[in-house]
């Protein structure tokens, strides 16, 4: 089964976080997932969470560059979200999915496992950054995530010059790396 060209284009756009691509995929698939969740004991809010997590899985796959889509994008998204919702239902001991014997499903277990591992890592990193406290948290985020230059950061955080900011950032970074790698090695 060859995925159509449109799906491939969308995935390329998605990997670059292209708003147009995200919007198209969202629009074409959200209602399907929402009715899946709502018909199986979920709420609108839960449907949104499940769908967005599915979108993240797709995003990660698209970004990895090694993703081969063997079916329609719709089927893949449905399978992923179904799997996610099934897992949540099991966690909270609600009952299992009844009404989807009609729908086409592809195996996505491995993809999800990979996603969970990554998700764990991100949570770990988020937590490590959170544990830094201020101003370290904002300083690190400004430099490594928002990718501002040291000059701007010094201005924003009220340091007299970029070197002071750099010093402070270095101290924060050392702490963060220590926390992160300790957890990272434990997690491995």
């Amino acid at each position: 089964m060859n995925p159509d060209i449109k799906d491939q284009d969308l995935l390329k756009g998605l990997a670059l976080n292209d708003k147009k691509a995200v919007e198209t995929i969202y629009r074409d698939n959200y209602n399907m997932v929402q009715s899946l969740v709502i018909n199986n004991n979920g709420t609108v809010q839960e449907a949104k969470d499940v769908f967005q997590e599915g979108m993240i899985v797709l995003f990660e796959k698209a970004r990895s560059g090694s993703f081969e889509l063997n079916c329609q994008l719709k089927t893949y998204i449905y399978s992923v979200c179904r799997r996610i919702w099934l897992k949540r239902l099991q966690q909270i001991n609600r009952f299992s999915i009844e009404a989807d014997s009609m729908a086409e499903v592809v195996p996505v277990e491995e993809d999800l496992e990979e996603h969970e591992k990554k998700d764990q890592e991100f949570k770990m990193l988020e937590k490590a950054i959170g544990n830094l406290g201020e101003p370290c948290k904002s300083l690190i985020e400004a430099f490594y995530i928002q990718k501002k230059n040291m000059q701007d950061i010094a201005g924003q955080f009220g340091y007299t010059n970029a070197d002071n900011a750099k010093n402070q950032k270095y101290k924060c970074l050392m702490r963060l790396k220590k926390i992160f790698f300790a957890q990272y090695k434990n997690g491995k």
């Binding site: 949104k48 967005q52 990193l125 270095y170």
Partner: protein, 368 residues
């Protein structure tokens, strides 16, 4: 080089910001210095993770933006479910939980009520204690003795009557009609009434109303002379809550005054025939008049709750009128009964009022 500078260099290397010659030099340094190499590997991983996280955050934000945008445009149905759909949806979602909860609640309720019913002692049932006065044996004996002495003295052989129980009553017509409680005279063979001065007259029941606990007595004794006008009035309307009231009756062989106030417009367990008064009442007070401060009878004391002291119940005085009307209907010879409608002691001091009233309040003695 200091650590901070090394790190900066490494970062520049990772970001690819080095000049080509610098880069060659640094790569040589990496090869020769495992510590630097280790740092580069580690930091590359770190930067990579940070970048990924940054991108993911951005992506999540854009997902939310897209969601909001699309639902505003109505391209996805994420708006809140409304009306019937919502009810059905909630029902579908919670029906099992609701069913389980309901059955647990049901079972628990049944179990608890069964347990409570089984374990708890039967509650003491509230009862009205009718305030008959039990005349003490000793008094009876004295009475018998004096009777005997009288008999011997007068040599009159009239049948000896032994009055065992009694209550109070009060005049409602000067020709010798009294009101008392039905329960006081119920099943009586002989009835006598006695003034506070000790004069005794025979009497008979001319009317009784068991539901309202009212009985009308007529003094039949020849020695009874019609009284002067009755000082108190008998009210047709009921008194207001908290109205001060007083009563005169015979809880002992002596006339006793008591005062209090109207504490509830209904009587025992919401009985509308009577009202509740706060006054000390004892056996023998049954049939005592309840008067307001103007000297108007507002009720007839008839009982108290067995498990509560300090308050009593009184039948509304309007039922005296009802009783008299029914009596007149039954027997036209009673047509001349006229209830006192105005009080002549309205503005008198309480002592003066009582002094007048006490002549019209009788002890009712009963032989069954």
């Amino acid at each position: 080089m200091e650590d901070i500078q090394i790190l900066e260099t490494v970062e520049r290397y990772i970001r690819g910001e080095m000049r080509p010659d610098e880069r060659v030099y640094f790569e040589q340094l990496r090869k020769s210095n495992p510590e630097i190499d280790q740092l580069v590997v580690e930091h590359t991983l770190f930067i990579h993770k940070m970048n990924e996280m940054g991108e993911l955050r951005k992506y999540k934000t854009s997902l939310n933006d897209v969601h909001t945008g699309l639902s505003e445009k109505g391209l996805i149905n994420s708006e809140r479910l409304k009306g019937k759909a919502k009810v059905i949806y909630l029902w579908n979602r919670y029906k099992r939980v609701a069913a389980i909860a309901a059955s647990i609640a049901g079972i628990t309720t049944l179990t608890i009520s069964a347990l409570v019913w089984y374990v708890s002692p039967k509650p003491p049932t509230d009862k009205i204690e009718l305030l008959d006065r039990k005349i003490r044996e000793q008094q009876n004996k004295t009475y018998q003795l004096s009777k005997e002495i009288d008999n011997v003295k007068s040599k009159v052989t009239e049948p000896e009557v032994n009055y065992k129980t009694g209550g109070s009553g009060f005049i409602i017509d000067v020709k010798g009609y009294l009101v008392t409680n039905h329960h006081v005279v119920e099943g009586a063979k002989f009835i006598a009434v006695e003034t506070h001065k000790g004069e005794e007259f025979k009497a008979k029941v001319v009317f009784e109303d068991k539901t309202r606990d009212i009985a009308i007595l007529k003094i039949t004794d020849d020695s009874f002379k019609p009284l002067s006008s009755i000082p108190y009035a008998i009210n047709k309307s009921s008194a207001d809550l908290a109205a001060p009231i007083f009563t005169l009756g015979y809880p002992r062989n002596e006339i006793v005054y008591g005062q209090g106030y109207l504490s509830a417009k209904t009587g025992f367990q919401g009985d509308t025939l009577s009202c509740q008064i706060e006054v000390a009442a004892n056996s023998g007070n049954s049939g005592s008049p309840i008067l307001n401060k103007y000297g108007e009878v507002i009720g007839v004391l008839n009982g108290r709750q067995t498990n509560a002291e300090g308050f009593a119940f009184a039948i509304h005085s309007k039922y005296i009128y009802t009783a008299i009307e029914e009596l007149k209907k039954k027997d036209t010879s009673y047509n001349r009964i006229k209830l006192p409608a105005t009080s002549s002691i309205k503005n008198a001091e309480r002592e003066q009022q009582v002094k007048k009233i006490e002549n019209f309040v009788f002890m009712v003695k009963v032989n069954r």
